[in-house]
């Protein structure tokens, strides 16, 4: 098993590299992000003092960039759930290098998304009234409920599979990192020694979370869509919103995961682990969800457009032909058809092609959130001229700060936490090695090899952390 040991050691050194080596470019990047976040904080202080007057939001269009950003970030957070939980539950053989990054995106995006709700509030000091006087009949309450549940579950689901890797960091990096990180590893590693008892208990914790987090994640974005769909507004008044939002969330979540993976792969030379096949599989998922989104959109617009009640005409005109037509058609052609075309053409079926598709999808999905929020509120419900809305500099600054903060949290996390589920990757690698061996044997002496034994559950791989401990 010498090859396995070598493979494992190389993986560990590659994984710990970001924690041990920090170049000047990292600090430059960190500084750049802090400047953007700082500007956002300063602009928010203006909003805090003057009120929402500094935004473009007024009485009739009272939701804008902030709520779009909220929906977008909550959507991104579905990356972790789908990739990690669904792939883990279905025992997909290629999931291990992808899961940890996806779970980080989930937790971080949820924090940023929830913050945008507070930012959107004119009186954020009244947030506790939600808990004191909230009524469970209110969709806003459902949202608070669902996001709190999801955030708690996401943090546990991120943490539990990381315990063995944190133990490995504790044992191997003790002399190489400072006291702060040593304290973090010692505390979070939970006295992990890789004993069968601990593996059994940890396995139970992971299995429970993996199964419970899938319905929770689906409920979260459904409830987010209900904030709109439970309102008597032309354009929001549709039963497909829950499905459309969940599918769109997973869609943009995969795209964001692809982008983060591509960047980390480039910087830390993780080509061996984040192989083209991972990008391609995710690209195929992207294309599949793109097709589903097209179906859902046709379903949504044709049912209301066919009947075309009075207010519907205005809603359709602004979306298909007038003010928002550019965004809408970019979303349909660039964001939904684009990935499918890129995946269909063999020449663009590469990492670069998948990354381009992911960028298109993320932009398109943000625009979709934006035009859903704004066009819904723009349809007049009283005899007024239709209102107009454009985000102000304050809003753009805070939105940019939200994006930067999302990246900042991941940037900081890279320096502390293992970005690969090392123990799971070794397990996966061992299975594939065993399979290769068995196939070789089978090819040499047909009929004598025992396939069943060679594909046994990888119970012996638990020595990863133990090996680290010795």
């Amino acid at each position: 098993m010498d090859t396995l040991t070598n493979w494992r050691e190389r993986l560990i050194s590659k994984t710990t590299r970001p924690t041990l080596v920090t170049t000047y470019r990292y600090w430059l990047w960190l500084g750049f992000l802090i400047v953007i976040v700082g500007n956002g904080v300063y602009q928010y202080s203006k909003q805090w003092r003057t009120g929402l007057y500094v935004t473009g939001m007024r009485d009739r269009i009272s939701w804008g960039l902030y709520i779009s950003a909220f929906v977008f970030f909550i959507g991104i957070s579905h990356a972790g759930t789908l990739i990690s939980a669904i792939l883990r539950a279905s025992k997909a053989g290629w999931k291990a290098p992808v899961t940890r990054i996806a779970e980080f995106i989930t937790a971080v995006a949820l924090l940023v998304g929830a913050a945008f709700v507070l930012i959107d509030m004119g009186r954020p000091d009244r947030i506790f009234n939600v808990f004191l006087f909230g009524r469970w009949q209110s969709p806003i309450m459902w949202d608070v409920m669902a996001i709190t549940t999801y955030l708690t579950a996401a943090i546990i689901y991120l943490y539990a599979p990381m315990v063995p890797d944190l133990a490995m960091y504790r044992d191997r990096l003790a002399t190489k990192v400072g006291p702060v990180r040593n304290f973090i590893y010692e505390t979070l590693a939970l006295d992990w020694n890789g004993s069968p008892t601990q593996f059994k208990l940890l396995g139970k914790a992971i299995t429970i979370m993996m199964l419970i987090i899938i319905p929770i994640a689906v409920s979260v974005h459904t409830v987010v869509s209900w904030i709109f769909a439970m309102t008597l507004r032309e354009g929001w008044n549709t039963s497909i919103f829950g499905v459309l939002f969940v599918a769109g969330a997973i869609f943009s979540g995969i795209a964001t995961l692809i982008l983060v993976m591509a960047v980390l792969r480039r910087i830390y030379h993780w080509e061996e682990y984040l192989a083209p096949k991972h990008f391609l599989y995710l690209g195929y998922l992207l294309a599949a969800f793109g097709a589903f989104m097209i179906y859902a959109n046709i379903n949504e617009y044709l049912t209301s457009g066919f009947k075309l009640e009075e207010a519907g005409e205005f809603a359709f005109r602004q979306l298909f032909l007038e003010d928002f037509a550019f965004m809408f058609w970019f979303y349909i052609i660039g964001g939904l058809l684009g990935p499918i075309v890129l995946m269909l053409i063999p020449k663009t079926r590469t990492i670069a092609g998948v990354v381009v598709a992911a960028i298109l999808v993320d932009i398109a999905m943000f625009l979709e959130r934006y035009f859903i929020v704004v066009t819904g509120l723009r349809v007049p419900v009283m005899p007024y001229e239709p209102a107009s809305y454009a985000p102000t500099f304050v809003e753009w600054s805070i939105f940019a700060a939200g994006l930067a903060f999302f990246v900042l949290l991941i940037t900081v996390a890279i320096k502390i936490f293992p970005m690969f589920a090392v123990w799971e990757m070794v397990e996966e690698h061992e299975v594939s090695l065993a399979r290769e061996q068995a196939e070789e044997e089978l090819a040499r002496e047909p009929g004598t090899a025992d396939l069943g034994a060679s594909t046994r559950p990888p119970s012996t791989t638990r020595h990863v952390a133990e090996g680290g401990a010795s």
Binding site: M141, I156, E186, M209
Partner: protein, 335 residues
């Protein structure tokens, strides 16, 4: 018998004075020439179609082509105003029939008023129609459909179940830490179990908190019908059946009382001014106060037509000059 002409003349004068006074008190319309007489049912119930007949005459001659209106006293948003229920024009016999649907549970003082074409003031005919008590109300006071088992308890059970599993998973992590501490090869002196205990405690605390928030949510859906916990001030009455008509603040007929302040206030509601500038024009989060800073009608009119600083512009197709003047009068005099 001595003839006393002075006394006779005095008696005659007093008789005439008394007769004229009595006539003036009892038939005030007589002074203006046109007299209104009304025939209406004494009792009605909510939802009923009510027919009110009015006869107009001038010196005993029927008045043809006169426009009249049936009004009643209604109050909304703290303002009391006369609301038009129906209008009609008299035929050659001087008779006009007005039909309205009884919506309110109390009509107060009803009037038949003369609108034209004459310009002399005509005393309105005042009468009352009693509305039967305990009659059906034309607004829904039952909220929703109650389906057995599909209620708050189910929601709370669902939440509790989900949170049970989250907490269970966290407790398994505590056990992972405990197993590590009990092992002989413990890595830290005191162990690091506390972080998982903290995590589990936070999960359990949030779980209990969430359930409590839902359990103690102020009122259930059903209690909305209880007047003690939910104020259902009947601002607008709505029919049960199609076309669900009613009248609300957005109804121009309430702005035809003749009193520019009352009309102005109604229009102030109708065009949605109150949404930003407050119920009394005192200003609110979005719109500035209009009470003391209203200025001349010219500048006021300019602002409304052009819509400065984010205010929507209202052209004269939306608010006529006449209505704008009424709103201005309301804000100037009463705001």
């Amino acid at each position: 018998m001595t003839y006393r002409p002075i006394r006779s003349i005095a008696r005659l004068a007093v008789s005439i004075f008394v007769a004229v006074t009595v006539l003036m008190i009892t038939t005030p319309a007589f002074a203006a020439g046109i007299e209104i007489a009304v025939g209406a049912p004494e009792h009605v119930s909510v939802g009923q179609q009510v027919e009110v007949k009015a006869v107009l005459s001038e010196d005993g001659v029927p008045v043809e082509g006169a426009e009249i209106a049936l009004t009643y006293q209604a109050s909304m948003a703290g303002e009391s105003a006369r609301v038009e229920l129906a209008t009609a024009t008299t035929d050659e016999t001087g008779i006009a029939v007005m039909i309205y649907q009884q919506r309110a549970d109390d009509n107060g003082e009803m009037q038949v008023v003369y609108l034209g074409p004459g310009t002399d003031p005509v005393e309105p005919y005042v009468f009352t129609i009693a509305v039967e008590e305990d009659g059906p109300q034309l607004y829904r006071n039952e909220s929703g459909v109650e389906i057995p088992f599909l209620n708050g308890t189910l929601v709370i059970l669902l939440i509790a179940t989900v949170w049970f599993f989250i907490a269970l998973s966290a407790i398994y992590l505590v056990r992972v830490g405990r197993a590590g501490r009990l092992a002989e090869t413990s890595f830290t002196e005191d162990g690091s179990m506390w972080i998982s205990v903290l995590l589990a405690a936070a999960a359990v605390f949030t779980a209990i908190g969430m359930v409590i928030v839902f359990v103690r949510a102020p009122v259930s859906n059903k209690d909305v019908t209880d007047p003690d916990v939910y104020d259902r001030t009947p601002v607008v009455y709505i029919d049960e059946t199609y076309p669900y008509s009613g009248f609300g603040l957005n109804d121009e007929s309430i702005a035809r009382t003749g009193d520019p302040i009352v009309d102005g206030r109604a229009l102030y509601f109708k065009y949605g001014c109150a949404a930003c500038h407050g119920l009394n024009g005192q200003g609110a989060t979005i719109g500035p106060t209009l009470v003391d800073e209203i200025g001349s009608f010219g500048s006021f009119s300019n602002d409304v037509r052009e819509g400065p600083r984010g205010m929507p512009a209202y052209d004269d197709a939306t608010i006529s000059n006449e209505n704008l003047e009424k709103i201005y009068t309301f804000l100037k005099e009463d705001g």
